[in-house]
């Protein structure tokens, strides 16, 4: 299979955003674990080339862990250029820019999160007035496995942009953006509760969904789902986390 430059539906992508196959970044920017997490398989698990079933038009994508080369297409260039112009730390703190499925993701160093949020909100060419969502993702195969993912929305330009920062379990600290976006209050508490990501500078970083005295962070991948076997008419079905999984 070639690099994934075709949208699976076969239609032309107006932003040209599907071209994710670039390798302009140094290989060190990509951890092997990330590459594993995103390596392509066909629909029924066969390795490339051996699937004779026609694949239903799905085209495996190139590794999203690699950055996308410029130009990104659409307004993505405009926005990233504006960010680069307005933010002196762009060169030091932006690890890579990924354009995939028509969405723009900027991976930054964790210490720069508050700074980039401030620029994204205040710069007249960016104006991301709304922080839609803060969520955590745990990639256990990576060293910096805990990712904090921010989704920004610009009401002025009607654009959306994702900022992602990764921290390790040993040092899960990154600055809170609550001073820039007060809406991050509950959402950062949730990410702390579920993943143990510590947002420094948050006014009251306590558990929000789990009880205050709970041990562990439930949505980490090494935290078991739990559950008991289900018995029905003499047969026993194992709990969901012990059932067969198809990778």
């Amino acid at each position: 299979m070639s690099e994934g430059t075709v949208t699976p539906s076969g239609e032309a992508d107006p932003t040209g955003a599907a071209s994710t196959g670039g390798t302009h970044l140094t290989p060190s920017a990509v951890t092997p674990a990330e590459a594993v997490a995103t390596s392509g398989q066909d629909l029924f698990g066969a390795v490339f080339g051996s699937d004779t079933s026609g694949f239903g038009g799905l085209v495996p994508r190139a590794d999203a862990a690699l950055g996308t080369p410029k130009p990104y297409g659409g307004w993505f260039d405009e926005a990233t250029d504006a960010l680069e112009a307005a933010w002196p730390g762009f060169g030091d703190h932006v690890l890579r820019v990924v354009v995939d499925r028509g969405e723009l993701t900027i991976h930054v160093r964790p210490q720069a999160v508050r700074e980039v949020a401030q620029v994204l909100r205040d710069d007249p060419d960016l104006r991301f007035e709304l922080l839609s969502s803060v969520s955590g993702v745990d990639y256990p195969a990576q060293e910096a496995r805990l990712h904090a993912v921010y989704h920004f929305t610009s009401l002025t330009y009607r654009r959306r942009l994702r900022v992602e920062a990764a921290v390790t379990v040993e040092d899960p600290h990154l600055p809170s953006v609550t001073s820039v976006y007060p809406t991050a209050d509950f959402q950062e508490r949730e990410a702390y509760d579920m993943f143990g990501i510590v947002f420094d500078g948050h006014p009251a970083l306590t558990r929000i969904l789990m009880p205050d005295d709970w041990d562990g962070h439930p949505q980490r991948k090494d935290y078991p789902l739990g559950g008991i076997p289900v018995e029905y008419k003499g047969a026993s079905i194992p709990p969901p986390d012990e059932r067969r999984a198809y990778a």
Binding site: E11, L58, S133, P182, T183, M194, Q219
Partner: protein, 441 residues
């Protein structure tokens, strides 16, 4: 005749480092007031079980006299680990989980999730499925707003609003039951389309509803809009201006009540909303009254969209034609209810081994979704409902995060309550319309 030597209704009390804590059960205010006479400051724990807290929401209110000086919301009482659970089921099964989050807007949860999965897959949903989704979503929006009217009215003492609201909502749920088989928790919208086509008689039932509801809706104006008590309880209460809304991430009717016509159906159309004619009602009062007005008018706009959706319904498939993704079910009504069509079972069991294998693999394993992450957002009755879905290329979601509008909007409760009277705190929380199933997930 026996006499009691102690008051059986006296408030229970115990000493803590923070002062005396009373457990109030009703009819025992004398003992609380006697104990609090030397201290003007009182902390009231309202909920999590309380008829005015909109579900299991706990409010910790600090009062000075009747003025709320500090309001904190405590949530998590309905946390069921839906996001974690989804990581152990395949992508299609995820629908049955998300539908249970915001239980007043199940179709919206399903659609937001399915749009995210479809974006990951890169598939285009057939036109008819999109129209059915719009139809169901707008019916669902009407039902959800009616429950808001009902519960919000009840919390402010308008019990007739409650009975009427639930009465009309049941009419809508009847229609949704005809279409999906269930009143709530439908699991009807599936990745790639919808579970089944509209059953015979469904369109007529919707048309009937379109006749009945416009006759009933003016009743709410008679009951509430012109009602001086309702006006006094909601006007200039729970004020939150546009700047406050954006800072706190508040979207939906609350944002529109502050004057900004931000509706994702208009600004980022999905499911073909660009083809429908409707208005985005706004108000400038930014108070509970303005939110009431916005929601009431949104019901009328939704009716307009439902009508247009019926007219747009053209014959066609309701599930993506890609057999590697489309659920292989061929549903038919049997003696024991809706289920797998016996003709289809006969065909795959008797004549086509490949079809049987394909069916088995797709149902037990599920389809694989190319690795990557997406965020898709739709306009739910409460605001921006976003789904951040991450796939590692497998048959199960690697991570699904739902940006629940109730969860985010609830942060505005403190801003709306503090400085107001205790009675206005009830109106404030009611005007936010949080659904705890969505807040806690």
């Amino acid at each position: 005749m026996t006499t009691l030597d102690s008051d059986p209704y006296a408030a229970g009390e115990r000493q803590t480092t923070e002062g005396t804590v009373y457990t109030v059960t009703g009819g025992d205010w004398d003992s609380v007031i006697a104990g609090a006479a030397d201290d003007q400051r009182m902390v009231v724990n309202m909920g999590p079980q309380h008829p005015s807290t909109h579900g299991v929401l706990r409010l910790v209110l600090e009062l000075e006299g009747e003025t709320v000086t500090s309001a904190r919301t405590v949530i998590g009482y309905l946390h069921t680990g839906i996001e974690k659970n989804m990581e152990y089921r395949n992508w299609t099964q995820g629908v049955t989980f998300v539908t249970r989050m915001d239980y007043l807007a199940p179709i919206f949860n399903e659609t937001a999730y399915c749009l995210a999965v479809e974006k990951l897959l890169g598939v285009e949903v057939p036109e008819r499925a999109q129209t059915i989704r719009v139809l169901c979503m707008e019916l669902n929006r009407i039902a959800s707003h009616l429950v808001w009217l009902a519960t919000g009215g009840m919390e402010l003492g308008a019990l007739t609003a409650m009975t009427n609201g639930f009465r009309e909502r049941e009419l809508v749920l009847d229609v949704l039951e005809t279409i999906t088989g269930l009143r709530m928790n439908h699991a009807y919208v599936r990745p790639g389309g919808v579970a089944q086509d509209l059953p015979p008689g469904a369109v007529e039932k919707v048309r009937e509803l379109l006749k009945v509801l416009p006759e009933r809706l003016p009743g709410y104006d008679d009951l509430l809009t012109g009602n001086p008590i309702w006006q006094k309880r909601t006007q200039d209460v729970a004020y939150l201006d546009l700047q406050g809304c954006l800072a706190l991430g508040v979207t939906g009717p609350i944002l529109r009540s502050a004057g900004l016509a931000w509706d994702l159906r208009k600004v980022e159309p999905y499911c073909g909303y660009e083809n429908y004619e409707f208005d985005v009602p706004t108000e400038t009062g930014a108070d509970a009254w303005a939110r009431f007005r916005v929601r009431l008018r949104e019901i009328h706009e939704s009716l307009k969209i439902v009508e247009q959706a019926l007219d747009r319904l053209a014959p066609g498939p309701v599930m993506v034609q890609d057999k590697k993704i489309g659920w292989p079910a061929q549903l038919a009504l049997g003696s024991d209810g809706m289920g797998q069509s016996l003709d289809h079972v006969k065909k795959i069991m008797g004549t086509s081994m490949e079809a049987l294998i394909h069916h088995f693999k797709l149902v037990t394993e599920g389809f694989r979704v190319p690795a990557g992450q997406v965020y898709s957002a739709i306009e739910s009755p409460r605001g921006e409902l976003g789904v951040h879905a991450v796939s590692d290329g497998g048959t199960r979601p690697f991570r699904v995060h739902v940006r629940e509008p109730s969860f985010v909007n609830l942060q505005a409760a403190s801003a709306m309550c503090e400085g107001a009277l205790l009675a206005d705190a009830i109106a404030a929380v009611a005007s936010i319309d949080p659904v705890m199933g969505g807040v806690d997930r």
